[in-house]
Symmetry: C2
Subunit: 346 residues, 2 copies
Amino acid sequence: MGGDHGPSVILAGADIALERHPDMRFVLFGREEEVLPELEKYPRLKAVSTFHHCEVSVRMDDKPSQALRQGRYKSSMWRAIDAVKTGEADVAVSAGNTGALMAMAKFCLRTMANIERPAIACIWPTIKGESIVLDVGATIGADAQQLVDFSVMGAAMARAVLAIQRPTIGLLNIGVEEVKGQDEIREAGRLLRESTIEDLSYHGFVEGNDLGRGTVDVVVTEGFTGNVALKTAEGTVKQVASYLRDSLSRTLLSRLGYFLARGAFARLREKLDPRKVNGGVFLGLNGIVIKSHGGSDAEGTAAAMDIAHAMATADLVRKIARDLEIFNLGLTASVAPSDQAAERAQ
Amino acid sequence: MGGDHGPSVILAGADIALERHPDMRFVLFGREEEVLPELEKYPRLKAVSTFHHCEVSVRMDDKPSQALRQGRYKSSMWRAIDAVKTGEADVAVSAGNTGALMAMAKFCLRTMANIERPAIACIWPTIKGESIVLDVGATIGADAQQLVDFSVMGAAMARAVLAIQRPTIGLLNIGVEEVKGQDEIREAGRLLRESTIEDLSYHGFVEGNDLGRGTVDVVVTEGFTGNVALKTAEGTVKQVASYLRDSLSRTLLSRLGYFLARGAFARLREKLDPRKVNGGVFLGLNGIVIKSHGGSDAEGTAAAMDIAHAMATADLVRKIARDLEIFNLGLTASVAPSDQAAERAQ
């Protein structure tokens, strides 16, 4: 029910995702008078979907506390998350109110054992390919242990979504010598260096310009800095695109040049297309919830569902629990004991 | 003596700046065997320069504490800063070691009355023109009062360097509803809203994407976030440029298009030229020190000196002292009492 466009875009996106992943099944929550007529347009989707009517839906401008008060147990958002808790769904995807979604997800799913706070992870396009960046805005501030938790969760997501077996991890820091390293970042670095998780490679500190460069597979930071970095990068892309448009439209010759090179500009647009990396993943809860951007179109919504599919297939929550167990116990990550550890953790 | 290229680039830059500002005078500090032969190449510059030989120079990889221990009172860096203290110079410009420069500047010039911490301000190119962003890395963290100090200092710099009479101020924050606003940012916002400085207009919170958009004239944040944002934007510009080069070189037609539109790309390069906005300004000390980027060429060095000229001409330190006085006393910023306040503050 959420996002700028409501069910029409969600269902169109689901239909695209289903074409790419024929093993997908959908559990849909919303108002029947809005959802069902739309669903009729996608017979293939309808055939693999279960629909639940919900009278209440969270509004985009509801405060998280308000959404919880009015929408707990009965809103479409709550019930989608609850379907993950009950096991009816593997992942919940919503284009709704981010604050409300995080509040409900925390309340309903609770944080994993040994995790104090969830993080929002995003996929960051780089010159080399893609990286995972977290936290991009779940909570402000993080102590050393939380930064380590984010590293373990980000590495698990990189393995699942980017198919990198032994992801490299960097802690976001600043380079001015005299102030290098807040205490918690230095301490997190020490803990990661001594880590015994075999399929995680700690690289060290990285700076803001390493994000676009793709220096590491996973960049870890607290939510305030991560959110500012993400939005600064988005703004800078728009800024450069605006300069480029202005420059190219100024003379007849440059307009002709643009016309001839329009294939190249189409490739550039595709490369910078924010829809391709749509989806903020909530990590650290007993279940995966993905926030699709409210302004996304069908293609963007499908991208968020692609991530959902990768994470469900990878059995991510269980793997994160195992890695954290290994990390915290300081065990060697040989396969047999770690699986036992995962059993114990459940 | 600092930077990647030493005196050759500094003197070439000074000569360019001198052409633009014929009222400039230079006091040069360095090793005579390196500086004097270079200076011979610029008779015009030589005519308006005083040279002081310094046996010691701070190395780019010296730790700030090391630089202070070995270079206090006698290094070229120290003596350039000290020339500001004694009044021999209005502004010190260095391309040397940032950490050492800040440590020496703090030690030699001391922070202004009522200012606890200096900030580094930079000029940020936007779609609309230019903004001032601070702190981009002097110190990690800032309380409400320090964020207010940064706002007052940034506004004074915007008046001096960007010639904006009543600059708008934004506090950098994040948009996720449930976590919006660290306490110190909210408190700084309250203080700024109630401010009585007439030539400062508090806009409210801004987000990372407002930086490139030019939503406000001055963006205020603490040094960790500011540094990450600055480097993220720099990295993103390089990333987009790299995508663009790749796309344009891929087919014969796009290469032809590039050739025809090469004027447009030259304009784009100029627009994105980091040399044009070179210069991190140390604010909050009893004197202005400007850090030119270590890798700058002559044109970039000249840009840092342009800023120096604007700030010296504007009598910036005295104006900041006056504004802070007004702010802290809660006086109305009518001209007469504020000048009296500035007298008292001295």
